[in-house]
């Protein structure tokens, strides 16, 4: 794979660059990406400079040679769900189309630091999904068999082995005993901000424009096709428009005159004070709606469930924090002694079958990539890869083929809501 093109404005990061900059007191580092004023027209305009939007732009340039691209962003780059998730990366999904796109993403993540020449701190530390009810035991064994057929390496492991891997766990709690787990060794975490920054730097180096603080206020169509977007920084014409705005997808679709099968909900997470290393795995406990990992700084990163009502406020409900922590404490008693430092929320775009939408739309040359719900971060490279195919060719490639909007009319769901539980 070719490395990300290095331009004179960004420079290539290497051990030699560090040594050179050390000698001149780090005075030579350049900004990682440019902040240009928008041009009047682009071939492709992408709305949303989060991981998915930037990855789409990157693979449009790298795989299809399309670099006349603007990525416009309402706030700051990576400030939405890309900077608000719990950084979990895994591909142990039940349904074949999901496994294909998430495993593509995982494989791209494995080489992404080299590919982008930007350290995304990918840490394949292993991921364990705890089975704490008989129902989950059967569900995860089924997923393990499905993963085996899909060529995704996962295994069903015993409570004893879980206790050996993770001494802080209490496997025989009275209410939620650990009955086993679905283990994926290749799964792990990455630095979420760095994923957005790395893609942004590579896109900027290819000559694409990343325009922050530029909210879309309207979408102009002409003869059933997109003509331009109106933004806080003026009118921008485009041949093709990709809406990749997660929780705000419905708002953008409304501007273009169609509806999406999506509802926006708040999902929240919290981190504890930093402590010494005690947890070298990512743990997901879907029965109690909690997931847990330890960051490189030592904080315990805890994710909870979504609120039940529509919400655009990037806040979560206090009682969900209580619910999540209360349930996790039985399985991880040591958490009860920790202070929680920060809590935040993001707006997730939930579809009925808990699977994403990568699709053409009722308006010509408008494409959507949304509906990743609670699990979008892990999919970023695969989502960008598949979306670039869709935007460049005007029709989905093999990864996106099953994720079209038409599946809702046809009843052809990719039902992960029972497979992955509420949180994933």
């Amino acid at each position: 794979m070719p490395a990300a093109p290095a331009s004179s404005s960004t420079g290539r990061y290497s051990v030699f660059a560090i040594a050179r900059e050390a000698l001149r007191l780090h005075s030579g580092w350049k900004r990682a990406w440019a902040s240009p004023e928008p041009r009047r027209k682009y071939q492709v305009v992408i709305v949303g400079a989060g991981g998915h939007g930037l990855a789409t732009a990157y693979y449009l340039g790298r795989n299809f040679g399309i670099t006349d691209v603007a990525v416009i962003e309402k706030g700051w780059l990576g400030g939405g769900n890309t900077g608000r998730n719990t950084t979990i990366i895994r591909s142990n999904y039940l349904q074949d189309p999901s496994a294909a796109i998430y495993d593509k993403a995982l494989k791209l993540y494995e080489n992404l630091s080299q590919d982008l020449n930007y350290n995304i701190m990918f840490s394949p530390r292993g991921l364990l999904m705890l089975a704490q009810t008989e129902h989950e035991v059967r569900g995860y064994k089924r997923t393990a068999h499905a993963n085996h057929l899909q060529g995704v390496a996962t295994e069903w492991i015993s409570p004893r082995r879980i206790k050996d891997m993770l001494p802080i766990i209490n496997i025989d709690g009275p209410r939620y005993p650990v009955l086993g787990g679905l283990y994926q060794e290749r799964a792990g975490t990455a630095r979420h901000d760095a994923v957005a920054w790395g893609y942004a730097r590579a896109c900027s180096a290819m000559g694409m424009h990343i325009i922050q603080n530029c909210e879309v206020t309207g979408i102009e169509t002409q003869g059933g096709k997109v003509a331009a977007v109106n933004t806080g920084k003026g009118r921008i014409e485009c041949d093709k428009l990709a809406l990749i705005a997660a929780g705000h997808s419905s708002v953008l679709a409304d501007m273009a005159g169609f509806r999406l099968p999506i509802e926006s909900l708040a999902l929240q997470a919290l981190v504890s004070e930093p402590i010494k290393p005690c947890c070298n795995l990512v743990i997901m406990a879907n029965t109690v709606h909690g997931y847990l990992s330890q960051s490189d700084k030592g904080e315990m990163v805890i994710g909870g469930g979504t609120d039940g009502f529509n919400n655009y406020t990037q806040r979560g409900s206090w009682h969900h924090v209580e619910e999540t922590v209360r349930a996790l404490i039985e399985t991880f008693p040591m958490l009860s002694r920790l202070k929680m430092l920060r809590q935040w929320g993001g707006i997730v775009d939930m579809t009925g079958d808990r699977s994403p939408i990568l699709s053409a739309t009722p308006v010509g040359n408008i494409f959507v990539n949304c509906g990743w719900g609670t699990g979008g971060f892990k999919a970023i490279p695969g989502s960008g890869w598949a979306m670039a195919e869709l935007v460049a060719q005007g029709r989905p490639g093999p990864l996106a083929a099953d994720f079209g909007l038409d599946r809702f009319a046809q009843g052809r769901f990719i039902d992960e809501s029972v497979a992955a539980g509420v949180a994933h």
């Binding site: 705000h248 419905s250 708002v251 409304d254 509806r259 999406l260 099968p261 999506i262 509802e263 926006s264 039940g308 009502f309 529509n310 919400n311 655009y312 406020t313 806040r315 409900s317 206090w318 009682h319 009925g352 809702f408 009319a409």
Partner: protein, 123 residues
Amino acid sequence: MLTLTCPYCGIAAEETELQPGGEAHLKRFGPGSSDAEFEAYLFARRNPKGVHFERWRHAYGCGKWFMAARDTATLQVYGTYKAQTPFPTPEIVAAIQHRHPQWRPDFDATSPTPTSAPEGLTQ
């Protein structure tokens, strides 16, 4: 915590004793409808950033379904009303317009009959 007043028992109920039920005033499509209508009824939601009419159930209280007008951008509650109300009441509309003077309902809140609710609201 979100607090909604149940229009049946009058209790200011906390979120934890309520069950959310999604968008309100949906027009049901079933046998005999087109595929597009049925799909829209099942899946296509307004999901607005702003005023949202929705269904709630006072699950750990009187058990009844009711409607709420709420703002998804600010979490402000404009009011609640009974589930038998075909569309938001004039009081609810007034409460919304008190906060958003430019907001206009796309239904006739003063009409006494449910049939006057336009397609825009009932899809």
